[in-house]
């Protein structure tokens, strides 16, 4: 929260005169130019380059990787488009990769639908497609099919993205929110609330300055490393909107168990804690974009934690709680102060349009 050590965050240059017009969504030449010169150029891969109406996959290749297909979709409307630690493009790729990853799937292919507001600069779109490409490469995922629509000024806010993704779940992996058992332990892969805090600050209406960056990152490699040491991970979910409190409540309710957290063990940066203190927010409900919660059998917890800590995305992994029998469907928190309280589902919205 100290302005002297804050990194200055420079938004992208949007000075180039080229802007998106309705013609770019008309199906004509302008659209073809945009797709060729911005989108296909960024996402460059053989399936997309064919520009057929659909991507095509070899089934044998897919079935050699596992025995189930995982399929997911998510839309991204974050405001602002660029924020410390990422942009809407990094979110759109990693968000969908992570939704596949926490099912134990190895993500393979993404689709990408753009809804552009008339007047958006082409340069902004190019920056976003470039960061999508970069993030996809990190996880060895290809963006293989897509769509672009342009709407009148005011009918959308600058740019929205939808991505869908498919991945393959290896044999023997069975991760489900219903599988938490008394005795299991709860793991997280690092500091909570960074994304929510970064977005809040990037909006600029709080007159707060900090060095907080979004934690937006892909989790699939780490999940595979976790599965390598413990194929029987019981529950796994990424804690995005609604924060870790929401995911843990989902586990507790689906599995009919109680999850007991220890506040002392939950990794929280001082900057994020400070922002929460000032604004009266609870970091347990702040959004993350690169954090997962894992529930694993007690005898595996140290091995899984060590495997996570070997990777940059899991460097600060910690065991933050345990699963007990009662009170059923509840999340309890032992506070640093020595008391105990309920951590409920979030009510309302701490902050709209965070992802």
């Amino acid at each position: 929260m100290n302005s002297s050590n804050s990194k200055s965050f420079i938004p992208p240059v949007t000075g180039k005169s080229q802007t998106i017009t309705l013609a770019h969504g008309s199906g004509g030449k302008a659209m073809r130019d945009l797709i060729d010169n911005v989108i296909v150029k960024s996402f460059d891969n053989p399936a997309l380059a064919l520009l057929e109406d659909q991507a095509r996959f070899d089934l044998k290749e897919l079935t050699s990787l596992g025995d189930r297909l995982a399929f997911t979709t998510d839309s991204y409307v974050v405001d602002p488009l660029f924020f410390p630690g990422g942009d809407i493009g990094t979110l759109a790729v990693n968000g969908t990769i992570n939704d596949l990853a926490v099912g134990g799937a190895v993500p393979l292919y993404l689709s990408c639908g753009f809804i552009l507001e008339e007047g958006l600069s082409v340069e902004t779109l190019r920056q976003i497609t470039e960061s999508m490409k970069k993030e996809a490469e990190k996880s060895q995922v290809s963006i293989v099919t897509g769509d672009t629509k342009v709407v009148h000024r005011g009918a959308a806010d600058k740019l929205f993205i939808n991505t869908s993704g498919i991945g393959i779940i290896p044999e023997g992996v069975n991760i489900a929110a219903t599988r938490a058992e008394p005795g299991d332990m709860v793991l997280i892969n690092g500091y909570i609330g960074d994304h929510g805090a970064a977005i809040l600050e990037a909006r600029g209406d709080l007159a707060l300055k900090s060095s907080i960056e979004s934690d937006c990152q892909p989790l699939s490699k780490m999940v595979q490393a976790m599965l390598d040491v413990c194929p029987d991970i019981h529950c796994l979910r990424d804690a995005t909107r609604g924060g870790i409190a929401t995911v843990l409540n989902e586990f507790a309710q689906s599995s009919n168990v109680c999850i007991k957290l220890n506040e002392k063990e939950i990794p929280l940066r001082n900057e994020v804690r400070g922002m929460c203190e000032i604004l009266g927010l609870d970091p347990l409900y702040l959004a993350n974009e690169g954090k997962l919660l894992a529930i694993v059998p007690r005898e595996y917890v140290e091995r899984v934690k060590e495997a996570m800590q070997l990777l940059p995305e899991g460097q600060y992994s910690a065991v933050i709680g345990e699963v007990v029998e009662t009170p059923e469907k509840r999340v309890l928190l032992k506070t640093n102060f020595g008391g105990e309280r309920i951590v409920d589902m979030m009510v309302g919205d701490q902050l709209p349009r965070i992802c």
Binding site: D205, T335, F337, G339, R341
Partner: protein, 380 residues
């Protein structure tokens, strides 16, 4: 974290709790009910639940959650008036975030916003004034809420607007004052309170003197308390000490912030801009004499109630709602007929379920440790 962790030290808490436990046993001995201490301020209610203080205290002490959440005590009719203001096409209505969800008889500000009203969340009245500077073609109305804690910043914003000659800024004034309400609670026939935790931030403005009648006339101890968990424990210990020694005085635990005489500049600003209303309606408690303020005649041009015609309807609280009894401390949140069933934070029926500082919402979100079996599961 510096200046925070010192006030949340679990070891200090344990030491204090041991002392509290010994004292509480002595004070409660021979009584047929626990010692009732009311925390007047919603901020204290929030701390008590957030840190699990309720469960840490010995059974001889029961905390009663008072009327000090300004959002909660706002009557439905005033919310309706505010929604009506927001729906004027030339108005930008600015408000603190937690007032957005307060249900009116028809809708909340949040619903009005969804239907097209220009409602914006601000963190301070000066933000509202900035919006007025940016939109000279619009009338920017600030939904002014709160006790003496927020009154000075509203008053200073009006003075600033006057200084700059800004004409498109006004207040929908719902500021209230805590003292008459404490008096009303002390006058209620079924009163069972042994002492008070006094509101720290209100006291920072008004000082200690306005509370003297509580000690002199009503013979109850009041300790002005800070908002960190150790502040609360220490203040409870101070109240118990008074009870044990059969003293009833106004003491100040929050000396690092509250001075005996309060803050003169703030008092002056309040005095300049506001005057007492004859009556103000409190949700759950009814009409209380001299418990609210309005904008003085001299600043009428900053008063939305004078600038616009406001329906000014009185809407009765829902019949099933027992907020009044909870506010007076005669009923615990969980014993209310509708608590956790038809009245939940998602669909609040009563005022106390609306804001996180409301006794029922705090109890619902953090506190139901002792009611797992006794209440129906809430649906989510």
């Amino acid at each position: 974290m510096k200046h925070v962790d010192e006030f949340r030290d679990p070891e200090q808490a344990q030491k204090l709790l041991e002392k509290i436990s010994v004292l509480a046993k002595q004070v409660q001995a021979g009584k047929d009910r626990p010692i009732h201490i009311m925390e007047v301020c919603g901020g204290h209610t929030h701390t008590i639940f957030r840190y699990g203080i309720k469960q840490m205290l010995p059974p001889e002490i029961e905390l009663v959650h008072g009327p000090g959440c300004p959002v909660c005590v706002l009557p439905m009719g005033r919310v309706d008036d505010c929604v009506a203001l927001a729906e004027h096409p030339e108005v930008i209505l600015t408000t603190f975030g937690d007032a957005m969800r307060v249900p009116g008889s028809q809708k909340s500000l949040l619903q009005a916003k969804a239907e097209g009203a220009d409602v914006r969340m601000v963190y301070s009245p000066t933000d509202a004034l900035s919006i007025a500077r940016k939109h000279p073609e619009k009338e920017v109305v600030f939904f002014a809420l709160g006790f003496e804690t927020t009154m000075p910043s509203t008053a200073l914003t009006v003075l600033q607007a006057e200084d700059e000659g800004i004409k498109n800024f006004s207040l929908f004034c719902n500021h209230i004052t805590i003292i008459p309400t404490i008096k009303a609670i002390l006058d209620s026939p079924d009163l069972q309170l042994d002492g008070f935790l006094g509101p720290g931030h209100v006291s920072m403005i008004i000082g200690q003197h306005p509370y003297l009648f509580i000690a002199d006339q009503y013979k109850r101890p009041l300790v002005i308390a800070g908002f960190e968990p150790l502040d609360i424990l220490q203040s409870i210990w101070m109240i118990l000490n008074q009870l044990k020694e059969q003293r009833h005085e106004i003491e100040n635990q929050y000396g690092r912030v509250v001075q005996n005489e309060g803050n003169h500049n703030a008092q002056e600003a309040i005095e300049k801009v506001f005057e007492l209303r004859e009556f103000f309606e409190w949700r759950g408690l009814g009409s209380i004499e001299h418990s609210g303020v309005r904008v003085r005649e001299g600043y009428a041009r900053y008063d939305a109630e004078r600038k616009f015609s406001i329906p000014n309807l009185k809407i009765a609280d829902p019949k099933s709602c027992q907020c009044g009894e909870v506010l007076k401390g005669t009923l615990k949140p969980k014993d209310c007929k509708v608590f956790g069933t038809t009245c939940t934070p998602e669909t609040p029926l009563g005022a106390l379920m609306v804001s996180t500082e409301g006794a029922c919402a705090a109890y619902y979100s953090y506190g139901r440790m002792d009611s797992f079996e006794s209440k129906k599961e809430p649906t989510t």
